[in-house]
């Protein structure tokens, strides 16, 4: 399959089952909502060492938030409900509770409940109070700029993590431009995040390493500077590869995001140095979900 001169490999992205939740963060203005949201989703690129994968899903207008203030919706993904609960409490407690004027609300109403303000309320040292409004319990924790308002729980749902595709370009700058174009298109898709910096990752990994202590190491088959000494996947014209990793609430969400991203990359076409789009997998034996690139783009 070739789209606008870009070859779409006959391969698939392999993704895994995860647990996810959404939190709505609001503040006095969008700037402070984003300060809190950025902090809460910081250092959350990969479950390998961060505990969870997280990102800002979308900006929220005042009419879309429970308290009528500007906000941001964040999504958090983890390998288990227990780990997700731990990460949620730490991140909301350290990054949202601490952020001026912030408030946090459940972004998912269904599913198993995860504590949101349920434990953070104890920061109030006995001065905290709760209100049951519309069937939802909200905790009011007194803080130095007023009150931190936080819903007691949020919902946890099954999700999909690790959807991906790789952009193979003639130069680093062209690969980066394609990555940016893909992310811009993918940010419009609801229920997904691209957890790496700016949504793009350069250090794609393979399973295992020559060093016994490492579970993963650089994906040498896609590293252009060592193509002469390894079993390279890169053709002569390719000098840079970037990957986009997608976590979504459902398989369909990940599929939509991949479709939007690859379409944006192909939109730049071979005239902008984009040569191939491929995907990372482990032979289809490890992940529950396979996303066939050609099927998605057909």
């Amino acid at each position: 399959m070739v789209i606008n001169g870009v070859t779409i490999d006959d391969t698939f992205a392999e993704a895994f089952g995860m647990k996810a939740t959404r939190v709505v963060i609001t503040a006095y203005n969008l700037k402070w909502a984003y300060h809190a949201a950025n902090a809460a989703t910081g250092f959350a690129t990969s479950v390998i060492a961060c505990g969870c994968e997280a990102g800002i899903e979308r900006k929220l207008e005042p009419e879309d938030t429970p308290d009528g203030r500007p906000g941001a919706a964040i999504l958090l993904f983890a390998v288990s409900g227990k780990e997700l609960a731990k990460q949620l409490e730490r991140r909301i407690g350290q990054c949202v509770l601490t952020s001026p004027t912030s408030a946090a609300f459940a972004g998912i109403s269904e599913g198993e409940r995860l504590p949101l303000g349920k434990n953070l309320r104890y920061f109030g040292d006995g001065f905290q109070s709760s209100k049951l409004i519309g069937g939802k319990r909200l905790w009011r924790v007194p803080v130095m700029d007023g009150e931190f308002l936080c819903e007691e729980t949020t919902g946890m749902v099954k999700a999909v993590g690790g959807g991906n595709f790789l952009i193979l370009a003639e130069s680093q700058s062209q690969a980066l431009a394609a990555g940016e174009a893909a992310i811009e298109a993918m940010r419009k898709v609801p229920n997904v995040i691209m957890p790496f910096p700016g949504g793009v990752v350069r250090s794609g990994s393979k399973v295992g390493s020559k060093y016994k202590t490492l579970m993963a190491s650089t994906n040498d088959a896609f590293c252009p500077t060592i193509r002469g000494i390894t079993r390279s996947e890169l053709s002569e014209e390719v000098h840079a590869v970037l990957e986009i990793v997608i976590d979504g609430l459902t398989e369909a969400d990940v599929r939509s995001a991949m479709q939007a991203g690859i379409a944006a990359v192909c939109g730049l076409g071979v005239k902008n140095g984009i040569r191939r789009v491929t995907a990372g997998n482990y032979g289809g034996k490890l992940g529950q979900f396979n996303f066939q690139l050609r099927q998605i783009m057909s």
Binding site: G68, R69, G126, L138
Partner: protein, 270 residues
């Protein structure tokens, strides 16, 4: 199907316990069966047929016509449907109500909404003393749900109230929210003496400073409280003056009663 309608023939001399007449209990019963239900009236028993004319057949929407202040315990522990009352209601209206809606076009007697767990009670008139309060011997008053009073409420509204919302469009009497445990009482009119006396937690939201605030309440300053936005938004779908309130107003916060844990709050709109 038309609503099951009970029309009071004449005002009884003594108080009548109407607790059996709920949609739950009347569902599926014929007129003959309904007319044969015994009601306690003073020290004797009367049959429904002796007191009421029975018409209609949809027990899920019960109508009581020509009601009077001697009909106690209307809607007690009901868990389905609705009751519409034309005329006054006696004491313990909606006592321990679990679900559904009661609309009263008249005045309510003492202890309306006491022990109420959920549902909506609308009083298009005044409520007597001890609205949403605990009856003697019980630890908690109202335990959930929502009460809207378009008129005034008497003394000791919300005494020992545990949960839920009481919205009073008119004034409330002395010792509103006394010994309140939790929940919300909002008053658009004025509050008389002793508001919040012995309050443990909960919120008393007032449109103006009460006539007299207990000395055991401390001024915590004027604030914009974010939760009020959500609270007021939750009223927007209701048919009440509270639906017209602005969501971004600030309030003056008084906390107390410091003689009784002191984490209750009286909020006065600025």
């Amino acid at each position: 199907m038309s609503a099951l309608t009970l029309s009071l023939k004449e005002t009884p001399r003594q108080r009548v316990d109407l607790s059996p007449l709920t949609p739950d209990f009347l569902k599926g019963k014929t007129h003959a069966q309904i007319s044969a239900i015994e009601l306690v009236c003073g020290n004797r028993r009367l049959r429904v047929g002796e007191l009421f004319d029975v018409s209609g057949n949809d027990a899920s929407s019960l109508i009581i016509n020509n009601s009077c202040c001697k009909l106690d315990r209307i809607g007690q522990a009901m868990s389905i449907g609705s009751i519409t009352i034309h005329g006054d209601a006696g004491a313990y209206l909606a006592y321990a109500m679990k679900k559904g809606a009661i609309t009263l076009h008249g005045n309510a007697g003492a202890y309306a909404a006491s022990g109420m767990i959920s549902g909506l009670l609308r009083i298009h008139g005044n409520a007597d003393d001890f609205l949403a309060a605990a009856i003697p011997g019980e630890r908690h008053g109202m335990n959930g749900g929502r009460v809207i009073v378009t008129g005034n409420a008497g003394d000791r509204t919300g005494d020992h109230m545990r949960r839920g919302q009481v919205l009073i469009e008119g004034n409330c009497g002395d010792f509103c929210a006394s010994r309140m445990i939790a929940g919300t009482i909002a008053v658009l009119g004025t509050a008389a003496r002793g508001a919040g006396f012995g309050m443990r937690r909960g919120t008393l939201l007032l449109n103006s400073m009460p006539a007299e605030l207990p000395a055991t309440f401390n001024d915590c300053g004027a604030h914009h409280l974010n939760y009020l936005t959500l609270l007021i938004k939750s009223w927007h779908s209701l048919d009440t003056k509270f639906a017209l309130l602005e969501p971004h107003s600030s309030v003056r916060r008084y906390m107390g009663d410091v003689a009784n844990s002191g984490t209750g709050e009286i909020l006065v709109w600025q």
